[in-house]
């Protein structure tokens, strides 16, 4: 904004202390305002990231500070990409991502669609539905282990009540086949409202006049849903998927409290595996390379996805 005429006028009637600061140009003020933020982000985000990249080419270990640090080139990267355990971890993460996103989009969209029917009190119930996603995932995840207890757990009791199975006969967290579903259920419970809120905004952004026009053309409700509602809400749905995808790729707190990555490695998502390598085995160089690979993956996938999202928006 060029404020030169305004500034000239301002100069004519300067109140008190204004004189002292008036000398600053807009450009200077802009820098004074932006610099602290950028500085802090550089110090706490970018500097560590560069350090991580540097460490990833070494065999440094935090717990042995006196040992000589050697440059090992790309050896850490080679070892990670050739490690079958890492691929198992990636597979567990992909399974978790696909199912949580699918379930959350399905349930979240359905809820938004129903809420958009504007029944009495829909605002109140929307707020209640939102509660789980605002809470601390670690604290809530820990409590879910209580709900999942065989015999005494509420979840097992309810499932047993409806299926007639013995509530002590299955353990959601202890069983190799059930544990991946235990984390999917808890995550879906927690984050479906997130998708619901975004879908609701999408549905509310569709003007009534389009439906009125369709109604005049005698388009069936079914047809209206597929040719108006879905295409117009699609950018919002895709945005919800983007957010959930990034968040769940980083997933740590909820799952580490729920299963701790077990039993075996069945729920060891990448963040949990990375934490073990870095803070339990203290393989700092190796885990730095791991972190770089993860970051490049998230960033790469997100960029491709955002391009696709923009294409949908343009249509």
């Amino acid at each position: 904004m060029t404020a030169s005429p305004i500034q000239k006028m301002a100069e004519k009637t300067p109140p008190g202390m204004a004189r002292n600061i008036k000398g600053l140009s807009d450009r200077t003020i802009a820098w004074i305002f932006v610099a602290p933020t950028i500085f802090l982000l550089l110090a706490v985000n970018i500097f560590p990231l560069i350090w991580t990249i540097r460490l990833s080419f070494t065999n440094y270990r935090v717990n042995r500070p006196n040992k000589d640090v050697d440059w090992v080139g790309l050896r850490n990267y080679e070892r990670i990409l050739n490690d079958p355990d890492i691929w198992n971890t990636m597979q567990a993460t992909a399974h978790f991502l696909l199912w949580t996103i699918a379930l959350q989009v399905l349930i979240g969209f359905a809820l938004a669609y129903l809420i958009n029917k504007k029944f009495k009190g829909n605002d109140l119930w929307t707020t209640i539905i939102v509660f789980p996603m605002m809470l601390s995932p670690a604290v809530v995840g820990n409590f879910w282990t209580f709900l999942y207890q065989p015999q005494i757990g509420l979840f097992n009791y309810v499932i047993a009540f409806f299926t007639g199975a013995d509530p002590a006969s299955f353990s959601m967290i202890g069983d190799v086949h059930l544990a991946p579903w235990a984390i999917i259920i808890a995550d879906t419970w927690m984050w479906t409202p997130f998708v619901m809120l975004i879908c609701l905004a999408g549905l509310r952004s569709i003007p009534d006049s389009i439906y009125e026009a369709a109604e005049c053309d005698r388009a069936s409700k079914w047809r209206q849903f597929w040719t108006i509602t879905i295409p117009m809400a699609l950018p919002f749905l895709m945005l919800a998927v983007l957010f959930r995808g990034i968040e769940n790729f980083k997933m740590f707190d909820l799952v580490v409290q729920l299963t701790g990555g077990g039993p075996g490695n069945t729920t060891t998502l990448t963040s949990i595996d990375l934490k073990r390598e870095a803070f339990e085995k203290w393989r700092t160089g190796y885990s730095s390379a791991y972190a770089v690979i993860l970051f490049v993956t998230v960033f790469g996938l997100a960029s491709i996805y955002v391009k696709a999202l923009n294409k949908v928006k343009e249509r």
Binding site: M1, V34, I46, N122, P132, Y157
Partner: protein, 312 residues
Amino acid sequence: MSFSVTEPTKGTKWFAGVLVVAYAVITLIPLLWIIATGFKSPADSIAYPPVVVFEPTLEGYVNLFTDRTRATEDMLEAAGPPQTWYEEIARERGTVISGPSRYGERFLNSVIIGFGSTALCMILGTAAAYAFSRFRVPLKDDLLFFILSTRMMPPIAVAIPIFLMFRNLGLNDTHLGMILLYTAVNLSLSVWLLKGFIDEIPMEYEEAALIDGYTRFQAFYKVVLPQAATGIASTAIFCLIFAWNEYAFAVLLTSGEAQTAPPFIPNIIGVNGKDWPAVAAGATIFLVPVMVFTVLLRKHLLRGITFGAVRK
């Protein structure tokens, strides 16, 4: 009400309402179960089948806030009659209170770090957002994208160097270190949200103020800040909730001095294994404030969770 072809019929509304309410009730059960378990006795909390109607007790809360030791009959008699209601509850289990537990400290740490980082985040964020909204900043779009991209990093990925850096600076396990860290984590959110809110304030107000002889700074804090008050308040609550809930950095970088409640609550152990009523009591105290804030925030929820990308 006038007739409209797009208005759902009464039957549709009723049907939609029933389904949504059913979902809401089911989704609330785990939360109600946490609150209820906090008031159960240890026996009731692990009863089979799970009990819904029970005699409420404050034992969980007493266990949460105190450390207790087992006492023999003689010791109990020597200690004399219980002085307070909470001692009485401990005595009934054959234990004596040996002192306060760590929960109070941990909760206080959460409060200090949460509010400290929120305050700092709002000061830095408001200034940056104002500059991005009103001035021509070189590389504006790149800087804004850079600020957002810091959010994509998994916390564990940057935790190693932050751990090393904090160790060198003596910031590991300190309030100041955690406040700076959470401020940096939340800055992307606060800058993006606040920029949206400030963009909505018409520039004419400031121009009028400048013509009246205000300087830029005066126009900023006398005209823009009051106008943006609602936006600033809701952004602050979002930052507070994120800092409050954060777990990954807290568990890796703090252990004693500055540990917050989320890493602490899951590790509350009773005399005979896991003390679920105490865990639930700790969780209740920790979660209920956030629920209250959620109700206050309900109009701005969507904006907050999407970094301002979706506005109603």
